[in-house]
């Protein structure tokens, strides 16, 4: 929908996207009904969404090809009860209400970008909090609950409040051994677990090219959910243009913020000054430089999830591990974020490398991140994970402790058996 009024003041990226989906020029704190482009539910949220849909008297959806029902939390199904819940989704799709993306295809937040469901300027709602990930591709991804999603697929629209925007300026480049996850954790640490509640977080680079890979941008936008943010959004650049081209979308137009857009807070990050970070139990915002935690014994590692389960992440981990074996007794779990990534890793030998080291390789899924799949730590275990949450009991045992870090830091701990600065391992 075009905006007919001439903008009266500068707009942020998010203000522009919500405006273009409501037909009015909107500013922060406005409340509007806006159309949606794509809606997504997982096997964690989909069955409940379908129950609300029925109770609402739903008889149609706005576009079944844009209602995605993704099975990623319970892969393969661990018991008969979960299998029946997944059947609820299959039956809903069979009635023409949506499109099933089945067990083993991968995690929703990897699949929507990978399969071309995300476009610049789109408004995407996902019944999963880490839907903020889609902002990496210059679109507006918002996490919502199951009843909101049911209402959204019936209406093709939903009500939104227009968030205030925090702007993060990135300058310089990260040093070797420091990755997008370290930037993400650093930001969660300084913003805090509710510091961006109801806000959008918009990123901008000093140079024309944002100094982050597309995978890294997805990691950063993913983690911004842990600040309470409604969404996180990256600008477009040549690297993103190239990404869209590789998935068959050569003609895209990015949404840019106006020069005189209004922000509620500015955060300046000099990337060259960043060091590896680690989030300690039991709050994601409990972030310290990894040097403060070095030496803590670790029994288990998780490499994967929607935060860090991509090729780049596994390549960095293998690079850090080199020829070294896993520390004695260390359990390393590998979960590629999608079947495409899994297949690629099979073809390029990465799976064999992990397997030869004694790692456990799980099918593309959320893995043990939220205790929904196999891979539960034992009592007293310290786990280092590339995931995005470390709450008590998150991985299924309230007597374990979860540290969140970059794939490089997970790999470093896997070969030493304790928290280790990854910059020292490769020497």
């Amino acid at each position: 929908m075009a905006i007919h009024k001439k903008p009266t003041r500068g707009l942020t990226i998010v203000e522009k996207i919500i405006s273009s989906h409501s037909g009015n020029e909107l500013h922060r704190a406005d409340i509007t009904v806006a159309t949606i482009d794509t809606a997504m539910a997982t096997d964690g949220s989909g069955p409940l969404m379908i129950e609300y849909f029925k109770k609402m008297g739903g008889t149609h959806v706005f576009d079944p090809t844009r209602v995605l029902l993704i099975m990623d939390h319970y892969v393969p199904s661990p018991n008969d009860k979960v299998s029946r819940l997944q059947d609820i989704m299959r039956n809903f799709a069979a009635k023409g209400y949506g499109t099933i993306i089945s067990l083993g295809e991968g995690i929703c937040h990897q699949l929507l970008p990978e399969m071309g469901y995300i476009r610049p300027g789109h408004l995407v709602v996902g019944a999963d909090s880490h839907s903020t990930t889609y902002g990496a591709l210059n679109s507006l991804g918002v996490g919502i609950g199951s009843s909101d999603l049911a209402a959204a697929i019936i209406s093709g629209a939903l009500w939104f409040s227009v968030p205030e925007t925090i702007k993060v300026n990135l300058s310089g480049h990260m040093k070797e051994g420091v990755g997008a996850k370290d930037l993400a954790l650093y930001l969660v640490g300084i913003i805090g677990s509710s510091g961006a509640n109801y806000c959008a977080i918009e990123f901008q680079g000093e140079e024309e090219e944002l100094p982050l890979t597309i995978e890294g941008r997805m990691t950063v936008c993913n983690l911004m959910a842990e600040t309470g943010a409604k969404c996180a959004i990256m600008p477009g650049d040549q690297r993103l243009q190239k990404f869209y081209k590789t998935i068959g979308l050569p003609d895209i137009k990015f949404v840019e913020a106006d020069n005189n857009a209004v922000y509620c807070r500015m955060i300046e990050i000099e990337l060259s000054r960043l060091e590896p970070m680690i989030s300690c139990p039991h709050s994601v915002a409990n972030v310290v430089p990894i040097s403060n935690a070095v030496g803590t014994p670790i029994q288990m590692g998780l490499l994967g999830t929607c935060a860090n389960g991509r090729i780049e992440d596994f390549a960095v981990a293998l690079d850090v591990m080199g020829e070294k074996a896993l520390a004695s007794g260390f359990q390393l779990i590998i979960v590629p974020a999608s079947r495409r990534i899994y297949t690629h890793m099979a073809e390029n030998g990465m799976l064999a490398q992990f397997s030869n080291k004694g790692a456990l390789i799980l099918p593309p899924s959320c893995g043990p991140c939220c205790g929904s799949n196999a891979g539960t730590p034992s009592d007293g275990y310290n786990v280092i994970s590339s995931a995005n949450r470390n709450f008590i009991g998150r991985m299924g045992n309230t007597n374990s402790y979860i540290f969140l870090a970059s794939p490089a830091s997970v790999a470093a701990a896997a070969v030493t058996g304790y928290i280790t600065d990854p910059r020292g391992v490769k020497l």
């Binding site: 409340i31 509007t32 909090s129």
Partner: protein
């Protein structure tokens, strides 16, 4: 509308995994069944000592973490009618209202567990009184119009049944 209930005090950053753990919610959508596990990872006695009409009184960022709506549903099915918190995560704020739970942002620092709390709600504002101490609790204004309407309907299911759908109508719904 007037509600009176006993305060159940919890702390800051109560996330949805604490409200109901993933290992419980995977087996069923039945909020009544899951309600017996409410907050079990923080306090194994929490669920069994709730009386219908109790009010959760929380610190900052109640309902943070996952967007999973089962957390709001479980709070409701456990018999909790309202949550008063210093602040809410945006997902829980939407999910709670969508399930007809009164969510009030207020200064909860002086309320202790077991206090009797009175909530009087009209279209525009909430009035919260700690009946045990007689203190009036400072709280936010009422909800935005759209949320207030959803709450008045008893939740989003009834709203959708009565209004049919959300339509972008080129007017601001504030």
């Amino acid at each position: 509308m007037k509600l009176v209930g006993k305060a159940r005090k919890v702390g800051d950053d109560i996330n949805t995994d604490y409200i109901i753990s993933s290992r419980r919610k995977r087996d069923t959508l039945d909020g009544k069944v899951l309600a017996q596990y409410l907050m079990e990872d923080l306090d194994t006695q929490f669920a069994s000592t709730i009386n219908p009409g109790d009010i959760i009184v929380a610190g900052k960022n109640f309902g943070c973490g996952s967007a999973m709506e089962i957390a709001a549903l479980v709070v409701k099915e456990a018999g909790i009618v309202a949550v008063i918190a210093e602040s809410f995560s945006r997902n829980f704020y939407r999910n709670g209202i969508n399930n007809g739970i009164f969510l009030i942002v207020g200064d909860t620092s002086t309320i202790e567990g077991g206090h009797r709390i009175e909530i009087i709600a009209d279209d525009k504002k909430f009035k919260v009184t700690d009946l045990t101490t007689g203190k009036i609790i400072a709280c936010s204004d009422g909800l935005p119009k759209i949320m207030s309407r959803i709450l008045q309907e008893g939740g989003l299911v009834n709203y959708m049944r009565n209004y049919g759908s959300f339509k972008p109508n080129r007017t601001n719904t504030k």
